[in-house]
Symmetry: C2
Subunit: 355 residues, 2 copies
């Protein structure tokens, strides 16, 4: 049990999923869509990515109740070629739209070697790993990215323009857990800053400027100012590429025009996503590929650690370990999250869960 | 004329290309392949990316003369699906192999919406922008990446394992120059460190550790130690993804097994590349897309600059400006580069160029 799991009740993942589904069902979401959203949020909490876990449920519910997110939207393909597709999420939730889009990529990749799908008129899509995992489970390389409302200043600017534009990549392995990249292209994830404010913690230097353009470690000041891209000009360039692929290419809005998840309650978010699946079997013998990826993973893990590191870990390895453990032991949620879930249930007239 | 162009002779691009072609022709390279290599190297010098310009010609020639790079290799497709292909570079130069692979991607993208091509048994491929530009000129989004010999420590390690694994992305615009990302996934480009050593300059902090694992700004110590990834864990993850896609997926070697360009003269490099082209027309109306990309470019450029910046520039904008100017005014090469070119010509019995 890790230090952060000490104290506080441990919730079995399936119980949390069920509670999340009931809440979403009560505000009108189709059962299958609610199942997908619940699975994604709880997967985030299982992996220790609480910023994208049940923490987000209240704002999803609020957007539905205010009529700016359609819980019964039917995502559909509006444009298609043998290896590419554009989907219209019809202002539904980003998670079921993303699942549909990734499944389109997987089907196309099986026939063509690769599949790409862009999604327009969508909303916040949770953790990218949730989609990428589907490709990995089919022996494919998966990529998922999304644009988002303006929170990050491009390199050299002092004003937010880009979203935190997440990028996820999954590479299947053999006996080892898959390589799982899932990152915001901001220096810090917006959700982690929200959570730091929630917990009364500071944020690391280099993450943000305050509203006067000065560096800050205060999450409140950061949320009033602008986040910074990761990796300077390079990370900024990657964030811009994501905005253009998920915006103009998908037929969705760009950063400065996207409604913010929390403060833009007067209109749909209007953001876009891009998904890609590459069928390993179109390029290599899948068993030989898996063997070589395992070999790479083990070689990286065996490297001598730098000062300040106990050991070298692969992308997604800490999250994988947490998920394995928490699937057995249950998840300890941040206190504010449990209370918000209970408040929601009470307000929606759902029976209390013994707590 | 920029400060760095002051002093020193200005060479017209076409003259440099011709000299480069003659050198490569003299050591046995096919004329068309030599033309492509010369075009890429001089394009790099035109764009101010001298680390990937004619600076590299001597080592290419040396590898050919030592028999570890085949100047007459014929790249061929060894595996193919409707939207994907694997090419065997047959130990030829990476630049003609990459051009062939990107052209396969473009042709596949025209039919299928997207095309991906992996290249195995290849060598150093110069600047990624050279390939990506071909896709952009066809109204497509282009991506190019390559793995390379171990120079960069993965996040948390103190020993080099990853190459500087470059990533290039091009997005076509309308009236504006295209968005042109072309970056090493190390904090600094290896070539810029070689050049800094050449020029007796230091390198920025954060780029490298010395052989004892301590931070250094001495290019000599950096080249004896290890480079660091850009953007910490995030950039390291991107570098690893590139190594796995260009290595096991392409059927090429991974970082620690690739022969170093300069010091691994006893064997072929054996590295791999991955290319991707996305046909904008499969997703959106290309004119509307171009208009929106222009709009985004202008909006970013109009953002208020941060402290220490004169103005906000798009990825590739400084290089574009240099290229435009130098195509008219000519290129000033770093002094060591001109001398090395003259030495090469003399040694190969080529007539001197008035200098």
């Amino acid at each position: 049990m890790s230090a952060e799991d000490s104290g506080g009740r441990r919730w079995p993942g399936p119980v949390l999923e069920e509670r999340c589904r009931r809440v979403l069902g009560r505000v009108g979401m189709d059962d299958e869509d609610a199942r997908l959203v619940a699975e994604s949020l709880v997967l985030a909490d299982l992996r220790g990515v609480h910023s994208h876990g049940l923490l987000r449920l209240p704002v999803y519910v609020e957007r539905i109740q205010r009529g700016v997110l359609d819980p019964r939207a039917k995502v559909r393909i509006v444009r298609e070629t043998p290896a590419a597709a554009v989907l219209d999420a019809a202002n539904g939730h980003g998670i079921p739209a993303g699942v549909k889009a990734m499944d389109v990529c997987i089907a196309k990749a099986r026939r063509c070697g690769v599949g790409v799908a862009a999604v327009r008129r969508s909303n916040h899509f949770g953790i990218g790993w949730y989609f990428v995992r589907r490709a990995v489970q089919q022996g494919m390389v998966g990529v998922a990215c999304s644009n988002a409302d303006a929170l990050v200043a491009p390199w050299g600017a002092r004003k937010a323009y880009l979203g935190t534009n997440p990028l996820a990549v999954g590479i299947p392995a053999g006996e080892e857990p898959p390589v799982a990249v899932d990152m915001a292209t901001s220096a810090g994830a917006h959700g982690r800053i929200v959570l730091a404010r929630e917990r009364g913690e500071t944020i690391p230097p280099g993450w943000a400027l305050d509203e006067n353009g000065r560096p800050t470690t205060d999450p409140e000041a950061a949320l009033a100012g602008t986040l910074l891209p990761f990796g300077g000009a390079k990370g900024s360039a990657i964030g811009l590429v994501i905005d253009l692929l998920c915006g103009p290419l998908a037929g969705a809005l760009t950063g400065p025009h996207i409604a913010p998840l929390y403060s833009g309650m007067d209109r749909p978010q209007g953001l876009g996503h891009l998904f890609l699946a590459i069928d390993v079997g179109a390029f290599a013998d899948p068993r030989e590929f898996a063997r070589q990826v395992d070999e790479s993973i083990r070689a990286v893990r065996a490297l001598p650690p730098a000062e300040g590191f106990e050991r070298v870990q692969l992308p997604g390895e800490p999250e994988w370990r947490k998920e394995e453990r928490r699937r057995n032991e249950g998840v300890v949620l941040p206190p504010g999250v449990v209370k918000a879930l209970e408040d929601l249930e009470r307000r929606l007239g759902l029976p209390a869960v013994d707590a």
